[in-house]
């Protein structure tokens, strides 16, 4: 079993109308953010355990995972900051779909090295079209700690209901035919 009671408790606290509407004092807002961040870390552990269990189940008796990989989530992906994808040259992205139907999802993650090419392979070994996108002005936010100036984007297709798909990401010096570098073209000047 895994414990998500801290997250449940924090969600209970955050039902307060001040939290929902933002009418709390500023230092209370900061405290809510602290509590929620801590709770999300425990949920991440629980999700890691749950996904590991799901994977072991999916792999049935054929293959026994002795150690489930540790899954981490990047809470600052909305401002294109993710130390895990920025520092590693190769890693795995797993996408879990909580809906009861198939969905497609655009995945974007920041990387630092713009000289490398990225190859992403889907669950069946197929190469996925990948696009390198320069980051916009949106990244100029006080408090953002990241050296990334580009993002890697791909579409995860047909993620199964209440299930997951894993994608193997590796960076190479050789350009892959499925890797597309896009540049920002100025349409209007300041």
């Amino acid at each position: 079993s895994f414990d998500i009671s801290e997250a449940k408790e924090v969600m209970g606290v955050l039902q307060h109308h001040d939290s929902i509407t933002g009418t709390e004092k500023a230092h209370v807002a900061s405290d809510y953010a602290r509590m929620l961040t801590n709770a999300l870390k425990t949920v991440e552990l629980a999700a890691s355990f749950g996904l590991g269990k799901l994977m072991r189940k999916g792999l049935a008796q054929k293959w026994i995972l002795t150690d489930s990989p540790k899954f981490t989530s990047c809470l600052l992906l909305n401002i294109s900051s993710c130390p895990e994808t920025e520092s590693a040259r190769s890693f795995v992205i797993t996408i879990y779909n909580p809906l009861s139907r198939y969905v497609n999802k655009l995945i974007r993650f920041p990387v630092v090295n713009t000289q490398l090419s990225y190859i992403i392979r889907g669950p069946n070994g197929e190469n996925i079209p990948v696009q390198m996108v320069p980051l916009s002005e949106i990244i100029n936010i006080p408090g953002r700690v990241s050296d990334a100036s580009v993002e890697i984007a791909f579409i995860a297709k047909n993620i199964p209901p209440l299930g997951y798909k894993s994608y193997y990401v590796e960076s190479t010096k050789v350009k892959s035919p499925d890797f597309f570098i896009s540049e920002a073209v100025e349409l209007t000047e300041p």
């Binding site: 401002i79 890693f91 497609n104 916009s136 002005e137 073209v185 209007t188």
Partner: protein, 288 residues
Amino acid sequence: VKVGYENGTTLSLTPEGLIKTLHKKHPDREIPFHQNFLYYRGAVGNNNLPEGGERSSGAYIFRPNGTVVPILSKPTTKLVKGPVVTEIQQKYNNWLSQVIRLYNGSDHVEFQWSVGPIPFQEGLEKPFGKEVITRYTVSTLHNNGIFYTDSNGREMIKRRLNYRPTWQVELLEPVAGNYYPVTTSINIKDINNPSQSLSVITDRSEGGSSLNEGQIELMLHRRLLHDDAFGVGEALNEMAFGAPLVAVGSHYVTLDSCAKAKMLVQEKVLDSWIFISSNQGLSYEKWK
């Protein structure tokens, strides 16, 4: 300039870098569509209560002073094209920027906005705060003052401009009085052709309304410099990292039917979870 994908949505832009039309594939039609940013100036009062006539706009009350100011209509616009995603990156000023995203194979458009740190005009005796909104307009859509919001988080509730269902109302504050909570989506439909609709799906609870025909507006961020005397005892002027707060969020905009918009709401609210893990130093073949 036309950007987008043949199997999904295409946008055409004006020379100023603003959206002019949206072209949908299913059914095949071109719709005049526009989006812009504005801000309301927050009322500044003396909080001489209980009359309330001089109450300031604050954390508890959205109370514009009657003026709405358009934010620069010619942003610096960059275009990023590719096989996966097309981005229109717009910078309006030092505190407002936006990325408009079109995904290959999808019918909806994503507007990722970044608002803040909102500046205020220094040197005024009573500087006013700013309450920044975004407006989406389909000029050919006539909703007759009717719009829908999911304020209770469960169902779309019908709203009508300057109207309350159980009493005769005369609104003295016609903007704030027509704002409703938007939990996940706000929608307008054409009165003659209900299949023509505009839905905006939010990533958080926001305030929203449809003050003009064919138009939806949503409040994105507020920075106010006066307490509203409702009890919090401080102005809505949050700081982070030594600067006023920046809000980053996204809207999905679709001109599809309400049924399709509902599916999109599910995808936005119950979004897929992304996890990163090590490949444990294994090659793809061994990892697989």
